[in-house]
Symmetry: C3
Subunit: 247 residues, 3 copies
């Protein structure tokens, strides 16, 4: 299975051009769009999303990760083997948290180059062909790389900020719910929110936080848009407070 | 064929996570995104859309229907066999009109549960795996249910309101054109609209209604956005008037 | 491979209905969404995009092209064989530039009609079934047509205007970079822009133009949205100036 994880935007031509490459280079391999509405040109929040989504995918899955504002510049193209899955993408931290959580990361600098490499679309020209090679079981076309040489090694294990706003307006944080005290409150947009189990446990219009289906602490409003109600966007900081503390 | 009918939003991660489940549990079965931009958290208008779209799909198609604001709460998960097709989704009326139109509905409460059931994403954890079972030809993992016990039995056969605004701004009603008099007018947004055959029969900028390609009465503006021109959105009521009547 | 090139909008039901037809009529043939966010109801800018995207697709690819404001009216349905690829779509110029660039265009008027042809959705009812026939290797179900009888023959080879704004806000022109002097400037939105190689060669927030990954001259802002910064939209004219000329 090849999994696309990009900021290409819904409907635009870039995902389709990648899929056309994959259909030819890895025929018969299922291609799944995991997300194409990631925060544009912001690898750091996306790194926490990737780490949250990846464990549900089967061993052998190959993630093509393209949030790549430095495309065509000096940043290196990488392949990462971690937790039995492969990841290809730019060296800008996008893969760093997934690697750290897996605990068995093996990094590679991609040395393979296509005959024609555009200066602005390495997703199509470099990362998709390499993903197809890996999905076909071929060896990684690169050289081993020390993790210390990659970007993101100094990023925190969890990120106390909004990393994604979903189409309903729910705001995912970069905090794993499992690392928070069971009765912790989250302060977001100047509101102190208690934890509930799911949407239908909140009154219509009420804000709360909960452990979402991918293990992240998520700020939500039952039958409403948390982003608008609370004034949240990607990058908005959040704060964890012990139960009973706070305003 | 497995057909996705959701309010997950274009580009977001939920459709992709469902497809990843389906790719593993029903390999080789085509998966078609019928819609992922349905009115969020509003099963009633979606029920009329589903009933309009479904007849064009082949026998044996399995619809995974997820417009599910009550997820994780008390609402039951259902499977429906109707008109030779299968539907899985929540008991909130979403499947009710498709069932009624088919005339041979057989309802089931799903009793199967996955090892891990999140509180907020039954589409991925429950409905997609069940759809895969049905697509593989396995028996429905549930118990028969009396239609009288399901939500939506008291909803009208047709709904005199806007049920969907498409990406062009055309506004579909929940009224089948075939049940309206040939020369009926539709009053929408305080404008009385006559029936035309298609867009190119209207002057540029002119508003009209017509029978859309799925049999619904649809309010449109040639080379314009009916939603903006007439001030229409999901839930806006419309009124049918006999020819010659009205303002 | 069947390639979808439409203005149906992301997430809506029209792409899914086409894919359901294709899954039945051409089982096993990969279907790639190249774009579904094309400028709605504007075949002229789309014609320049199609001509730019098509050459990267393999011989035998069948493009289903639906930007079709005249659907249901007098415009003819066409099939085009050019450059080893097939195209089906309306006679409104949408296919004209791809045909001209290939240099070996063979045009056909489609004479086949389905049992049920809606007045508003020929993409599903006519163009998709014909695309499936061509993908299956069947003869084109139509009659040869003289290119002089098709729309778009008088359109320029390149179009000095914005033809598409991508999800990042980058503004593609209808000008091939290869036909412009290497040191040409492009004036867009009253700003005179010089050419760079790629995004990371510009300072954050700086506007420039570059040859994009499909060969078109594209106006962009590093880490910004060119459409908003420069006030550009589909149809905004641009002007090419020799180096040293200008304001």
């Amino acid at each position: 299975m090849i999994v696309l994880f990009t900021d290409f935007g819904p409907g635009g031509p870039y995902t389709g051009q990648m899929k056309a490459v994959l259909a030819r280079a890895a025929p018969g391999v299922p291609v799944v769009d995991l997300a194409d509405d990631l925060p544009a040109c912001e690898p750091e929040p996306c790194a926490y999303l990737l780490a949250a989504f990846a464990p549900a995918f089967p061993p052998g899955a190959v993630f093509v990760c393209v949030v790549d504002p430095g495309v065509g510049g000096a940043r290196a193209p990488l392949a990462l083997e971690a937790g039995g899955r492969w990841y290809v993408g730019p060296d800008n931290g996008l893969l760093a948290i997934a690697a750290r959580r897996a605990g068995d990361a093996r990094w590679h600098t991609l040395t393979w180059r296509p005959q024609r490499l555009s200066a602005s679309f390495h997703g199509r020209d470099l990362f998709a062909p390499v993903a197809a090679m890996l999905a076909r079981g071929e060896p990684v076309p690169g050289a081993p790389l020390d993790e210390a040489a990659t970007v993101g090694g100094d990023w925190p294990d969890d990120r106390a900020a909004i990393v994604y706003v979903d189409p309903y307006g729910n705001a995912m944080t970069g905090l794993r719910a499992a690392v928070l005290p069971e009765d912790a409150a989250i302060v977001a947009g100047e509101r102190r929110l208690t934890r509930l189990r799911t949407f239908s446990d909140a009154a219509p219009g009420a804000a709360f936080w909960y452990e979402n289906a991918n293990g992240l602490a998520e700020v939500a409003v039952n039958r409403g848009r948390a982003d608008r109600v609370l004034g949240l966007g990607v990058g908005t900081p959040v704060r964890v407070e012990a139960a009973g503390a706070g305003a």
